[in-house]
């Protein structure tokens, strides 16, 4: 297996910059997830590692070897494509064994290796079938088999689960993780699905418009987003943002907006002071972010945050409660036994442990490091 180093890589298509000065170091046996919305450059970056896209600027090293000018077949990488890209005119056996055939491996040896891989992926009874005769999950496994049989240094996976239904996706997610453990492989995985990213990745790289927003283990990125985009992209349902101003009253920081007048507890105020460095002054426009699960429902009479219930969704393990507030909307996650109904007014208190504060540019006051 191998490590991959990406140094200041940029990709331009005429005037459009798809990937902008990205640097990453992917450790041996790491499961790294490139995450971001459509068009953020994650697939382009993956294709540059594979050698399927030319690099405009920068360098890519696989196992310490510069591969900028190495053709795809000599980079020792295997790729699993979003639409599987199985050869429709070949059987499963030929699909899996094709790369070995191209590598002039002996026919008997090809057969043996294909059978071994087919056993791992439970495809041994489908070897003589064509892709059109397989279900989505089976096709996905063939695509994986085609990658595994090459025993590559790095696996590149481009949204491999996005064409599967929800149930199969969860099953395949688990299978991929088991496979990662078994093969001890370096995997670079592209997805726009934040649940996939958080459940599978040992680290997440969040991209937006070709620029890396944040790199880190899933929980770190979720708990400590560096900006409002990261906070908004990770989490389902999405984080709630409230726009307002930060004012100082009686020595305490207060978040003031039409929806609420929220005085920060002493420890949060101290945290703001500690990281402020003059960024936040009197009446600075800011936004606060609170995830749906980080609210406590309190008595509506004396609460500092109040909202009228506009919709309640029961999703089995939870209830999602939509609230209308003065010039704001909010979604909270409650237990399935919550009894509030449409039209009720309830009070809320944010969980200050997981409270996020963003400046006017959307940068996290607590976690964004201007030196980074």
């Amino acid at each position: 297996m191998a490590n991959v180093e990406i140094l200041e890589v940029t990709k331009k298509y005429k005037e459009v910059t798809a990937v902008d000065n990205v640097s990453l170091n992917i450790e041996d046996q790491e499961f790294l997830v490139l995450l971001g919305p459509s068009g953020c450059g994650k697939s382009t970056l993956l294709k540059m590692i594979a050698g399927l896209e030319e690099i405009t600027r920068g360098e890519i090293y696989i196992n310490g070897k510069l591969v900028n000018y190495t053709p795809p077949k000599d980079r020792d990488v295997a790729m699993v494509f979003q639409n599987y890209a199985l050869y429709p005119h070949m059987t499963v056996k030929d699909n899996i064994g094709f790369s070995l055939k191209m590598g002039r491996v002996h026919k008997g040896e090809i057969g043996k290796q294909v059978e071994d891989v087919a056993k791992i992926l439970q495809l041994d009874t489908f070897l003589e079938r064509r892709p059109e005769q397989l279900s989505g999950g089976q096709r996905q496994r063939v695509a994986l088999g085609r990658a595994i049989v090459r025993k590559p240094a790095v696996f590149l996976m481009d949204e491999p689960l996005s064409n599967l239904d929800a149930k199969l996706r969860i099953q395949m997610r688990e299978e991929l993780l088991r496979l990662h453990d078994r093969l001890q492989a370096t995997i670079i995985y592209v997805t726009h699905d934040q649940i996939e990213a958080m459940t599978m990745g040992s680290r997440i790289v969040l991209l937006r418009d070709g620029v890396v927003q944040q790199i880190g283990p899933p929980q770190d990125v979720y708990d400590h987003p560096v900006n409002a985009f990261v906070a908004g992209f990770l989490g389902s349902p999405s984080i709630n943002f409230f726009e307002g101003q930060l004012v100082r009253r009686d020595g305490t920081w207060v978040f003031a907006s039409p929806a609420m007048q929220l005085a920060f507890p002493a420890e949060v105020g101290a945290k703001v002071d500690a990281v402020n460095h003059g960024r936040l002054g009197e009446s600075t426009p800011v936004s606060i972010g609170v995830r749906p699960e980080n609210f406590q429902v309190v008595d509506g009479q004396n609460a500092r945050m109040k909202g009228e219930i506009s919709l309640v969704e029961f999703v089995g393990s939870d209830k999602y409660v939509y609230l209308d507030m003065p010039s704001a909307h909010c979604l909270i996650r409650t237990s399935p036994w919550f009894h509030g109904k449409k039209g009720d007014t309830i009070g809320l208190e944010p969980d200050w442990e997981h409270f996020q504060l963003f400046d006017a540019e959307g940068r996290s006051v607590f976690w964004w490091n201007p030196e980074a």
């Binding site: 795809p72 790729m79 094709f98 790369s99 191209m102």
Partner: protein, 297 residues
Amino acid sequence: MSSTEVEVRATAAEAKRAAERGAKSRKIAGISVSYLILIIGCCIAIFPFLYIVSLSFKESTSLVSYPPKWIPDPFYFGNYTFLLGETSYIRWAFNTFAFAGSVTALKIFFDSIAGYTFAKMDFPGKEILFTFVLATLMIPFAATLIPAFLIVKNLGMVNTYWGLILPPLASPIGIFMMRQFIESLPKDLENAARLDGCSEFYIYLRIILPNCKPALAVLGIFVFMTQWTNFIWPLVVAKADEMRVLTVGLASLKGQWVTNWGVIAAGSVMLMIPIAIVFIFFQRWFIAGSMAGALKE
């Protein structure tokens, strides 16, 4: 349940059945009309063919009789034996096979490889070159006939197979067709092959070509049919009797004063058979090819 309610339900069920019967009979009427139109169209299309088949089995003395006889009486095979024994028909048929078959095979190869290049490869001036190739569609065949003949003559290819075969290869419609089809194949298919270690030519040969069968079948049938019935170019370039193709050979049987229409009819019937066989053989792919754009996932 009250009796009124029962009655209301029974009436509703009866009305539903009547509506279903009405819809069914309208459907049958619709199908009948379409079949009738198709049968009439089919008769119109098949009439000249049957007329020629009938003529080919008649003696020259009974070709025009009144009232017209559809079924020859007696069946006369003289036209066929004359054609096969007294003319160079077999040689002409061989020439036609060689000519139409070679043009078809070469066009399938060149058009598909050019289509692949235009569809999937990037090189400077690609769009301009493709526009230029397409623009040649605007030039009528009559305008290029004489220059093409002069080139072939200067190359010493008059009355040769090369003279027959090479000029018809330069037609852009096949390139356009193949490019459109290949463009619809997913890019990841080639990328997968590239990662698997295929060269560009191998991607074309092993991955693209097998997945273009419907388009290749359509192109093959079009080219074969066009060249099988091509008359002007072979007439101009292959004048010697041993180099003639069937269309030109059959035309040469038409005398200035006397024409044996029975013999020409027999020749025409035999001219049609290979095309019918080719069409029947490739029909499945042909239909798949014409539907490819509509049904492709």
